[in-house]
Symmetry: C2
Subunit: 260 residues, 2 copies
């Protein structure tokens, strides 16, 4: 290795670049185009092999996945849960509408399985970073499709072959704090399977399937601060095989899950 | 912003650099010194504000947290569990010895709470990347202390103020695949609390405590491949307040946890 050359931070193995200056996203907006405009202003161009990581919120906005609570009539169940949790029954109604099942509930928390199969608080329904007091954002209907659409659009605009990951911040059992995870994937496998490979001592590696899409999502969570408008981060230097892939591969089947 | 300047990848917001060439670590080794040697060869120097992320395995090895299964006599409980799971009863005995409680168990998986309070498979006891057929590595006794010791040593050797995170790969409920998480922290808070701050629309952010130490750990998991000898990754460009901190802050108290 050439030490001089390595001093150039060009050679940092993985580089995360925040895409700044994306405007407030509105229903119908072309996210690929907004990313192209923002990166051009920044003097940054996407390259083959980049992973373009996009916060769910702007995808939901572009797709019009917004609900005005004034239009919502809560069910009896929503009213009951809301009373117990001191929350807006209309919001609880929206959460239930996005859910396939309730996983856990107490006086504070409503953890459900979304229709996509993700398990998270409030089915991913969220008031923050949405304009208008009574408006909330829902998760995209089909985040893998959203990711693929964006991948295709970026290929047109930049003439590049990238992977796209759509992320949201989820809590998790046992550990405090939220982390950014992948809810939509296109262009790569979200899991990397090391089973059958051997370690440096020739021992076979067991049980080593790494959730690389979640690790990529988490890395970009370090830049997608909640209140600073950075909804897109480009990850460069992570080598992946170009491939179909779906965030559904990250969802553990119920019958394999000891914690439902 | 100067587009020309931004094209220099110097300006990637966060840079992850793998520290290569760390030799096989033995009990008593000075990890700080090994990192200093390896980074010097690489032509890379630590800087103030870097987060130095170290895989648990080399910390355990340096601290002599290695057990030869030939020295272990399994208890009746270990024999019973091992028979059910078709595993080595001596390994199960070591796992139970490292555990404060059993969280879940079936024919394949033994999820326990470690004496530190972490919940993971096999109490973090692991055969991979340990020399010798019957040797296994345990988690460090006090990973926060290990992190602080290394932080102090790096300050001596490099004259820098860094944070240190010690990581291991844990599974999680509901989602497939392992991710790298923080089990020891020094020099920073592992959680970043955004509560009370406002979003771009002036709405107060709620329930937004981010597990940044776990997100940093996850990012380095992209480079710490299981079988390629990269046990140390330097994260540059993540701004944190220098502070005391402990990975115990990442452990949800049992009474606040709906999933035990």
């Amino acid at each position: 290795m050439n030490p001089k050359k390595h001093q150039d931070i060009h050679l940092a193995d993985i580089q995360l670049t925040a895409v700044r200056g994306i405007p407030e996203v509105r229903p119908g907006d072309d996210l690929g185009w907004l990313i192209a405009q923002a990166t051009e202003t920044q003097g940054f161009a996407l390259a083959d092999g980049d992973v373009v990581v996009v916060a769910q919120k702007i995808v939901s906005k572009a797709e019009g996945r917004l609900v005005n609570l004034e239009s919502v009539t809560p069910s009896a169940l929503a009213v009951e849960i809301a009373a117990k949790q001191h929350r807006d029954p209309r919001l609880v109604e929206v959460v239930l509408g996005e859910s396939a099942s309730i996983i856990r509930m107490d006086d504070h928390v409503l953890v459900t399985e979304t229709k996509h199969g993700f398990i998270c608080a409030n089915a991913g329904v969220d008031r923050s970073n949405v304009a208008g007091k009574d408006w909330v954002a829902l998760l995209p209907v089909a985040p893998d499709d959203s990711a693929l659409l964006l991948k295709t659009r970026l290929a047109e605009l930049f003439k590049v072959n990238v992977a796209v990951i759509i992320t949201d911040t989820f809590g998790r059992p046992w550990r405090e704090g939220l982390t950014n995870v992948a809810i939509g994937v296109a262009g790569m496998k979200p899991l990397k399977d090391f089973r059958g490979e051997r370690d440096d001592h020739g021992k076979e590696l067991s049980a080593t399937v790494l959730a690389v899409a979640d690790e990529i999502a988490a890395s970009t969570g370090l830049l997608m601060r909640k209140a600073s408008r950075i909804p897109v981060v480009v990850v460069r230097g992570f080598y992946f095989e170009h491939s179909d892939g779906s965030a559904k591969e990250l969802v553990r089947a119920k019958e394999r899950d000891l914690f439902r």
